[in-house]
């Protein structure tokens, strides 16, 4: 699939740069250069989101993360703004380290602990799109299998039984690890995540965290482009919202 510009509209994305972010440029490239959106970096010491339509917390090791992924990032100045933005219904995507930060900041439930195999793992995995009624999956088919890369040492999703039941009940789990055929096998789960969780949204549906990297599978030059479906879904969601507002006015 060759990613295309959506509806002729350009949305404003902010990619937060923590000092140890290292996928910030990747998100910038995927959204800005490949999907031709308006992207800007947001410095961790700043306390303005610069009027963006959506915030990306990119992958990396925000503050070195020697203690625990995202443990320090959650108290950074920019995160105060991100929390307010999310509370007001703004679209926030946390990828990998960004997912860890969202959990640490309490914007998403649960936490990400060390991979069951105890080693860092970088490879392509398959995830199944659990439903398409989210802001991040509307361009996918229900049950569609996406091929996306992971690259993490702490991506093993954990939550208590009650939280987990809530996630299931509210359809907050939007991606689960699966095999190429879409089956949820133990072998297909790379890190031991409970219920095969690869990505979740908050109850309101505006905050999403996922361990796989959609921005790494967006540029056709690199061959794999399933990640563009997630980013394009998000853009479409933002565009429709804007159009809706306009027509209401």
């Amino acid at each position: 699939m060759k990613p295309r510009r959506t509806n002729g509209s350009v949305k404003k994305f902010g990619v937060v740069v923590f000092p140890g972010s290292n996928c910030d440029h990747d998100a910038y490239h995927a959204l800005g250069k490949v999907l031709r959106q308006d992207v800007r970096f947001l410095w961790h010491k700043d306390s303005s989101l610069d009027g963006v339509d959506a915030v990306i917390l990119p992958g990396g090791f925000s503050y070195g993360d020697y203690l625990r992924g995202g443990a320090i990032a959650r108290v950074s100045p920019i995160m105060k703004e991100v929390v307010s933005f999310a509370d007001a219904g703004g679209i926030v995507i946390g990828i990998c380290n960004g997912f860890q930060i969202l959990c640490e900041a309490g914007l998403l439930p649960g936490s990400l602990i060390r991979n069951a195999g105890l080693t860092f793992l970088c490879r392509f995995v398959h995830v199944r799109v659990e439903h398409t009624r989210s802001a991040f999956t509307s361009g996918c088919r229900e049950g569609e299998v996406l091929k996306l890369p992971i690259a993490h040492g702490e991506g093993n999703y954990f939550a208590d039984a009650e939280t987990l039941a809530g996630l299931e009940r509210n359809n907050q789990i939007i991606f689960r690890y699966c095999d190429a055929g879409g089956s949820l096998t133990g072998e297909a789960n790379p890190n031991g995540s409970l219920n095969g969780i690869a990505g979740i949204v908050n109850e309101r549906g505006n905050v999403m965290g996922m361990m796989p990297h959609p921005e790494r599978a967006t540029d056709p030059v690199l061959r794999e482009t399933d990640g563009a479906k997630i980013l394009l879904s998000t853009i479409s969601h933002l565009v429709e919202k804007t159009q809706l507002t306009h027509s209401t006015i």
């Binding site: 290292n22 990747d26 090791f61 070195g64 190429a180 990297h213 790494r216 690199l222 061959r223």
Partner: protein, 762 residues
């Protein structure tokens, strides 16, 4: 000279010898200074004249390597890394370096700081690292010590590169008993820089300020360079404090901050602090700038109390840089480092004198003429005694006619594919982030990594290579093969080799037999590099790689970078369609001397290493690039360890990984004993596949180039590997062995008995 202000030992001959200097060298220091050195000065000379920093026993040989080329922007050894033009106003900076000794005693930190050091060499030139590679050697894979070292090294490399944010894209790993206790950990980094932003490691301009940026200075790594210049022994464990500790997060900050100051045009010169710390960067930068430096050591930010001047000067604390700036830019530089929460301390000033003068709490701590300390200046240069070792003629004349032919070829093929030197490296490579920065092209590039450049739209390819067993059996030829194979790997992915960096890992150079290996290897490397048009841009020498049982295999690792105009111009190794022809370019004689087959299946490390004619090699590589350029080829894969059949299996595994369950049916076999045909390691061969309709054209072009061509068989859709009634195996079964083998070794599921006897017959 005041020495009584600091508490330091007496600096006499005895002290000098304890620091690793010879009586002659001590005398040379006295002459350079015109007086006796104090302890601080003596320490500086001892690290700068260590093998690691001075190349005193290798430089006379290294000068034999071809070091010129139209695209080279910096001469070998002139800068922190080689610099080669790649068009559009950009250059590629790349270098490989060893961290063997630290990794032998502290594998995790040793390997991690090896990666950190080589990355700094790249970004201190103003280049942003775009890829990392590593070349590893370990001992017997079934030993517990090897597993401990392997796990620690791989985790060290992974944790550092992953956090720093550079994709680790390629490399190689071999196992052999000769590397027991003395693993080789060579790290390579590749970066991109705009021509007008290249920063030189030079201190010039009297009145310019000298800044230390990055981490504070502690006692870690003191005498690390000296430690690297000794043999590993039981006492080495006590050198564990000589191993530095890495902090990739700080390195990442240092990268961003230094590149930001360079982009802003604020930097006059910069050098990272690696081996020999402040001593090395200060002396090298001032020597190169033909300037002096006045430095106040009491202004160096310290992380420990009570540090003496010599400790500050020798510390190898990581993640530090020495930066020279104009006084009017000092504030702007400080602001950038503040933004990244890094220390930035002005510690000295460039002078138009010719001395490095050191102060400590208001007193003189030392004064040295920098030129006298550095390589190419006053550092000693030795030519060592050379003697051909007895094993050389004995092993090359070994009679291999008694090697039994396998009864069951399928079973032997399975064992070959499971060999620790052949099987899939997935267990290692999945621990490295290979994709960060979204430049690594995710396709079946088995021979070399392919990285696109967002800046220019072109692609770079990169690889490291060296078969130490070949070099042991025949250093001249083995080194030629290392160069040839590395270049062939770049050609197989459709890219043109540009230039070389090397990491020369050898034993103790004071042993004439070791020095013979070294000198012979340099000769082979020089010949191959000259013919293939790939000059040597720099690199690293690591001597004293020995354990109590002897030296490691001589291992001159070649790192090479190549280029192509676009991602579309590259080629993958997986077979594509049933009905395509499998074709071999190059000649097969069935030579098994020095082969993995002989070592793994027959327990012999002996015989004549496969011959190589570097001119034929060049023709093969040119032909391959021509065929790929003309789109006559659907896949290409270099034929190396394990021979023809292993190469074909790898092309099939590549297809299967893409869900393309192909097979191969060999046609008629030639009149060569099948084990020699399948597993022999004749050089200058490439396995390609092509549509039937293109065979005649390919034959014509091969004929015109003078390259032998042979139709091997046909790609089938049945998922079977079939060869002349000798082999009939399901590809998926073979792939299972290939993919799982290394993990089994690491988890201890394979005992020594299952290892084969690789390296037992040395």
């Amino acid at each position: 000279m005041t020495t009584d202000t600091v508490n330091q030992p007496v600096a006499n001959l005895e002290t000098a010898q304890k620091l690793g200097l010879t009586p002659e060298e001590f005398e040379k220091i006295r002459q350079a200074l015109g007086r006796d050195p104090n302890y601080t000065e003596l320490s500086m000379y001892s690290v700068m004249w260590s093998e690691h920093c001075s190349y005193k026993n290798s430089i006379s040989q290294i000068k034999r390597l071809p070091r010129e080329g139209p695209k080279l922007l910096a001469g070998a050894g002139e800068e922190n890394a080689g610099l080669v033009d790649i068009g559009d106003g950009y250059a590629v900076a790349f270098k490989i370096e060893s961290h063997n000794h630290p990794s032998a005693v502290e594998p995790y930190q040793g390997a991690a700081t090896g990666v950190g050091g080589i990355l700094r060499d790249i970004f201190t030139m103003g280049a942003r690292p775009v890829a990392a590679l590593n070349s590893l050697r370990f001992g017997d894979p079934a030993s517990e010590r090897t597993k401990y070292l392997l796990k620690g090294v791989v985790k060290g490399i992974g944790d550092y590169g992953n956090s720093f944010g550079v994709p680790t894209v390629a490399g190689e790993v071999y196992f052999d008993r000769s590397y027991n206790e003395n693993p080789l950990v060579n790290a390579m980094a590749v970066g991109i820089v705009r021509h007008d932003r290249v920063v030189r490691a030079v201190a010039k301009g009297a009145g310019n300020l000298v800044l230390i940026v990055g981490s504070s200075t502690g006692r870690d790594g003191i005498h690390g360079a000296t430690f690297a210049s000794e043999e590993i022994s039981e006492a080495s464990e006590s050198k564990r404090p000589s191993v530095q500790v890495g902090d990739p997060f700080t390195e990442k900050l240092l990268l961003e901050a230094t590149l930001e100051t360079i982009r802003a045009g604020l930097v006059e010169g910069m050098q990272d602090m690696g081996a020999a710390g402040i001593t090395c960067s200060t002396c090298e930068m001032s020597a190169k700038g033909e300037s002096g430096i006045e430095m106040d050591l009491s202004r160096v930010p310290l992380r420990e109390t009570g540090m003496q001047p010599f400790e500050i000067l020798l510390s190898e604390s990581q993640e530090r840089m020495l930066v020279v700036v104009k006084p009017e830019n000092e504030e702007a530089v400080r602001k950038i480092f503040d933004k990244w929460d890094l220390r930035c301390e002005t510690v000295g000033v460039v002078t138009d004198g010719k001395m490095v003068n050191l102060k400590w709490n208001g007193a003189d701590a030392g004064s040295v003429p920098p030129y006298s300390l550095v390589l190419g200046g006053g550092a000693p240069v030795y030519t060592r005694e050379i003697s051909e070792p007895a094993y050389f003629q004995k092993l090359r004349k070994a009679d291999l006619s008694g090697v039994d032919e396998p009864a069951d070829y399928g079973e032997v093929l399975g064992r070959m594919l499971g060999s620790p030197n052949i099987c899939s490296r997935n267990w290692i490579t999945t621990q490295y982030d290979s994709m960060v920065r979204t430049n690594t092209i995710n396709d079946c590039y088995l021979d070399a990594a392919v990285v696109r450049l967002k800046e220019t739209g072109k692609v770079l390819s990169m690889k490291t290579d060296c078969n130490g067993r070949y070099v042991y059996l025949n250093p001249h030829r083995g080194a030629m093969i290392a160069v040839a194979e590395c270049a062939r790997n770049l050609v197989a992915v459709g890219t043109k080799p540009l230039a070389v960096t090397n990491c020369l890992n050898f034993g103790n150079p004071y042993k004439p037999e070791i020095y013979w290996q070294f000198s012979e290897s340099i000769g082979g490397m020089a010949e191959a590099c000259a013919v293939l048009g790939t000059p040597v841009t720099g690199g690293n020498v690591s001597f004293y790689n020995e354990n109590p049982e002897g030296a490691v295999y001589p291992t001159p690792v070649i790192g090479m970078v190549g280029e192509a105009d676009s991602p579309e111009a590259t080629m993958t190794a997986d077979f594509k369609d049933a009905g395509d022809l499998v074709i071999l370019l190059g000649e097969t004689h069935g030579r098994i001397g020095g082969s993995e087959y002989l070592a793994m299946i027959h327990g012999k490390v002996a015989g004549e290493v496969p011959e190589i004619d570097i001119h034929i090699e060049k023709r093969l590589q040119d032909l391959t690039l021509d065929l790929i350029g003309k789109r006559l080829v659907k896949s290409a894969h270099d034929c190396s360890e394990g021979g023809l059949i292993v190469t074909i299996c790898e092309c099939l595994f590549g297809a299967h990984r893409k869900g393309n369950a192909l097979g191969v049916n060999f046609g008629e076999l030639p009149d060569i004993r099948p084990d020699r045909y399948f597993f022999g390691e004749d050089q200058s061969r490439m396995v390609i596949s092509a549509s039937k309709r293109d065979l005649a054209t390919i034959r014509g072009l091969a004929g015109a180039s003078g390259v032998a061509i042979r139709l091997l068989g046909e790609v089938t859709g049945d998922g079977m590997l079939t060869a002349g009634g000798l082999i009939q195996e399901r590809v998926s079964d073979l792939m299972g062995i290939y993919e799982k083998s290394l993990e089994k070794f690491v988890s201890g599921a394979v005992t020594s008995d299952g290892v084969g006897r690789s390296g037992t017959d040395r």
